[in-house]
Symmetry: C2
Subunit: 469 residues, 2 copies
C-alpha cells in the first residue's frame, strides 16, 4: 500500500511536471505579467487582489536600500594631506566593503521575496500589511551592516542583524502559513496539486533554514564572534555552495539523475525561474537612483550662499557657479553613462523571455558596479587639478563601467546558452543566421558544415532543428 | 465641395467617437497594461518595442526628482539660538517653497510625458534615446529652481529654467514628428484615423505652447524680470486657467455645446484619462523614497566614531547608540506612517478602473504632503527635550498626514462622482447598497425612496438602473 502511494505520488509529480512544461512554454510565449493584473483575477474573491502593485512597491523599496549605501562612500572627503590619506583610504575600503555586502545581502533578501511571491500570486489586506512589516526590517539591514563594519569586534551589529533576519523569517513563515490556509491565494499549480502539505513543508523548511543559522550565529557570537561571521557568510552562499557540491559530486560519481519529485519552486537550481518583470523593476529602480544621486548632491551643496556671491564674486552669479563647472559635467556624464547602460539592459531584456536565478545573480553583479558609478564621478570632479589623481579616478570609472558591461554580456551569453527557454524565437533565428554566416566566412573549405555544428555546439543544434521543422 | 469635406470629417469624427467609446469601455473592463506588454505586439515590427519599461524607468526617475528637494529642507539645522532662528526659519520657508514648486513643475512635466506616450504606444531605439535626453533635462529642473529661490533678483535661474523647458519642448516635438512619420508606433485610434495630420498639428501646437511662453519669459527677464515669473506661473496653470475660464463662460452664457471634433488626447479636460498604471508607478516611487529617506540619513550620520565610543562611552557601543534612540523611533514611525498611507492608496486604486487628469492632480497634492513627512519626523526627533518645539513638530506632522489623507479622500469622492467610468462594478453595487441602507435608517418614513434618489443624485441613478437590468 505504501509503495502504491509512493508510485501514485511520483505519477502525480510526473503529470505535474508535464503540466509545468506546458504552462512554462505558455508563459514563455506570453509574458506572465498580463495574467497577474487582469481584472478578472481581482474579481474572483472580492477581498483578494492581484499582487502586482505590492511587488512593484517592494521592488522600489529594495532597490533604493540596495543602492543607498554608496552615499557614505561617495561623501567621504579625500584630503590632500598625505598623512590623513592613508586612514581615509582605509575608511573608504571599509565603506566600499559595506556597500558591496549590503548590495549582496539585500539582493539575496529580494530573491527570497521573489521566490515567495512566485508561490503566492494573489494577496489580501493581511498579507499586504505583513509584507510591509517585512520590508521595514529589510530596509533596516544596511544600518546593522554599517555597525558591523565600523565595530567588527563588537557583537551588537551581529546580534541586530541576526535579530532582523530571524524576525523576517518568522514573518515569511506566517505569510506562507496564512496563504496555505487560504489556497485561492496560491499559484495555480500548487492550488490544483493534491499534496499541498508537502509543498508547504518544503517551503517552510527552506525559509526557516536561514533564521535558524542566524540563531546559531547569534549564540556563537557570545562565545567566539569570529565563528558567527563565518556562519553568516555560509548563510548567504548556502544555495550556491550546496549547488556546487551537488555539481562536483555529479561530475565525480557520474551523472546523478534528478529526483523525480523536484519542484519548480524553492529548488535553488541555477535555472529556477525568477519573475522577469521583477528583475526589470528592480534594475530600473537601481538605474534610476544611480542616475539621480549626483543631482541630489548638486541641489543640496552647489547652490552658493548669497553673501558669498556678493563678497567674493562681486555679485556675479555666473562667476560663482563656474567653480562648480566640473560637477555639472560629472552629473551629465554620469546620467548619460547610466542612461546608456540602462538602454543596453533594456534592449537585452527585450529579447529574453525568461530569467533564471543565475541570470539574476549576474544582473546583481552588474548592478552592484553600476551603483559604484556616482563614486567614480565624484572622484573625477574632486581632482580637477591634480593630474595623477584624476587619472586614477578615470581608471576607476573605466573599470566600473567595464565590469558593469561585462556582466551584462555574460547575461546575454547565458541566455544564448539556454536559448530555447530564454530567447524570443526570432532572436534565435537571427543568432543561427549570424553563426552560419561567420562559419561561411572563416571556414569556407570545410566539406560538411553539419559536422562542425555537431562538434562545436551540441546542445544548440536541437533547437535549430526544432526551429526549422 | 468644401462643405461636403467638412461634413465628411465630422461624420468621421462621430464614427471615431463611437469607436473610442467602445475601446474605452473595453479598456475600462480590462486593464490597458496587459495589452501593452503582450509579446505579440513586440513581434509586430522586430525593431519596435512595447513602451512599458521605458515608461516605468521614466516614472522612477521623475518620482525621485520630485521628492529629492525635501532633503535640503530636512537637512536645515534648527539652532536653539533665538537670534539665528528667524533667519533659519526664513531659509526654511524658501526651501519649502522650492520643494513645493519643484514637485508641481515636475509633476506637470510628468503629466505631459504621460499624455505624449498615450499617443505613442510603441517605441524603437531612437525614441528611447530621445526620451532619455528629455529625462536628463527634467532631472536638472530642480537645480534651476533652487537657483531661482536663492537668487530671486538674478535672471540666471530663469534663463536656465526656460532653456531647459525649451529644449524639452523641442525634443518632444521631434519625438512626435518621428512617431508620426512611422505610424505603427502610434496609438491604434490615431493609426486607423484618416486625418493624422490634424492630430499631429494639434499635438504639436499643444506641446510648443509651453516652450514659446518660456521664450517670451526669458526675453522679458532681460527687461523686467518680475514679469517673467508671472509668465512662468501662467505656463504652469495654463490648462487649469483656460479650463476655468471656459467653465465660467459656460455658466454665464449657458450650456456651451462641446465641439464635435473634440479628441481624447491633449484635451486638458479634467476627465481626460491618465494611464492608471503610470499614476500608480509614480506614486509607488514617491512613497518608496519617502519611506527610505530617513534610513539613508541614519546610515550616513548615526554610526558613531570608534574613538568617540572608546573615549566618551568607555567602549560601550550600546550606550553610544542610545543617544540616537529618538532617530530610530522616528525612522520606524515614518516608515509605518508612509506604509499605511501607501496601503490606503493601494486599496483606493484597486477599486478604481480609470484615472482622470483631475484625480491625477489630487493625487499629486496628496503626494506633495507625503513628501513632507521626513521633514516632520526630523523635527520630532530634533526636539526631544524642549517640550514647546516638540509640540510644534507633532502639530506639523499631524497637519501633513491630515492633508495627505484628505486629498486621498477627495480622489475617492471624485471617483464616486464619476462612478460609471471610474469604479469597478462590484464597488458601485456596494456603494449603492450602503447608500440605500443609510437612507432606510435615517429617513424610514419617506413614502417613495425613488423620488429621493431622483432629487439627490440625478447622474448616479442611471448606472444603478443599468446595473440592475
Amino acid at each position: 500500500m505504501g509503495e502504491n502511494d509512493d508510485s501514485d505520488i511520483i505519477e502525480h509529480h510526473v503529470e505535474e511536471e508535464m503540466e509545468k512544461r506546458g504552462t512554462r512554454s505558455h508563459a514563455a510565449s506570453s509574458s506572465s505579467f498580463p495574467e497577474s493584473v487582469s481584472p478578472s483575477d481581482r474579481e474572483g474573491h472580492s477581498s483578494t487582489q492581484s499582487s502586482h502593485r505590492l511587488l512593484a512597491y517592494s521592488d522600489a523599496l529594495i532597490s533604493i536600500i540596495a543602492t543607498v549605501m554608496i552615499l557614505p562612500v561617495a561623501h567621504t572627503k579625500v584630503e590632500d594631506n598625505e598623512e590623513l590619506r592613508e586612514s581615509v583610504q582605509q575608511l573608504l575600503t571599509t565603506k566600499i566593503a559595506v556597500y558591496l555586502m549590503t548590495f549582496l545581502i539585500v539582493t539575496v533578501a529580494w530573491a527570497a521575496h521573489i521566490r515567495l511571491f512566485q508561490v503566492i500570486v494573489r494577496i489580501d489586506d493581511c498579507l499586504a500589511l505583513l509584507n510591509l512589516a517585512c520590508m521595514m526590517l529589510i530596509t533596516f539591514l544596511p544600518y546593522t551592516f554599517s555597525l558591523m563594519a565600523t565595530f567588527p569586534q563588537k557583537i551588537l551589529g551581529i546580534l541586530l542583524f541576526c535579530g532582523c533576519v530571524m524576525v523576517i523569517g518568522v514573518i515569511q513563515s506566517v505569510i506562507v502559513l496564512y496563504a496555505f490556509s487560504r489556497p485561492f491565494l496560491l499559484n495555480e499549480q500548487i492550488q490544483i496539486s493534491e499534496n499541498q502539505t508537502f509543498y508547504k513543508h518544503h517551503i517552510l523548511k527552506v525559509i526557516m533554514r536561514v533564521p535558524l543559522m542566524c540563531l546559531f550565529a547569534s549564540i556563537f557570537s557570545v562565545i567566539f564572534f569570529q565563528l558567527s561571521y563565518v556562519l553568516l557568510a555560509i548563510v548567504i552562499f548556502l544555495p550556491y555552495i550546496s549547488q556546487f557540491l551537488k555539481w562536483c559530486r555529479s561530475k565525480a560519481i557520474g551523472q546523478v539523475e534528478e529526483t523525480p519529485d523536484s519542484m519548480q519552486f524553492y529548488t535553488f537550481l541555477p535555472n529556477e525561474p525568477l519573475t522577469k518583470e521583477r528583475v526589470e523593476a528592480f534594475s530600473d529602480g537601481v538605474y534610476a537612483i544611480v542616475a539621480t544621486l549626483l543631482i541630489l548632491d548638486i541641489c543640496e551643496d552647489n547652490v552658493p550662499d548669497p553673501t558669498v556671491v556678493k563678497e567674493q564674486f562681486g555679485g556675479s552669479l555666473v562667476a560663482a557657479l563656474q567653480v562648480y563647472g566640473p560637477e555639472y559635467l560629472a552629473y551629465f556624464g554620469s546620467f548619460a553613462t547610466v542612461g546608456l547602460l540602462w538602454f543596453v539592459h533594456h534592449s537585452l531584456f527585450l529579447h529574453v523571455t525568461k530569467t533564471t536565478r543565475f541570470m539574476g545573480l549576474l544582473n546583481t553583479f552588474s548592478l552592484a558596479f553600476v551603483g559604484g558609478l556616482p563614486l567614480a564621478y565624484q572622484l573625477t570632479h574632486e581632482f580637477p587639478r591634480n593630474s595623477h589623481n584624476e587619472l586614477e579616478a578615470i581608471q576607476i570609472s573605466c573599470v566600473i563601467i567595464f565590469f558593469a558591461g561585462i556582466f551584462q554580456l555574460t547575461i546575454w551569453v547565458v541566455a544564448l546558452y539556454n536559448e530555447q527557454e530564454t530567447l524570443h524565437p526570432y532572436v534565435r533565428l537571427l543568432v543561427r543566421v549570424g553563426l552560419a554566416l561567420l562559419r561561411k566566412i572563416f571556414c569556407p573549405d570545410r566539406p560538411d558544415p553539419r559536422t562542425v555544428v555537431e562538434e562545436e555546439d551540441d546542445e544548440t543544434r536541437v533547437p535549430f532543428n526544432a526551429l526549422v521543422t
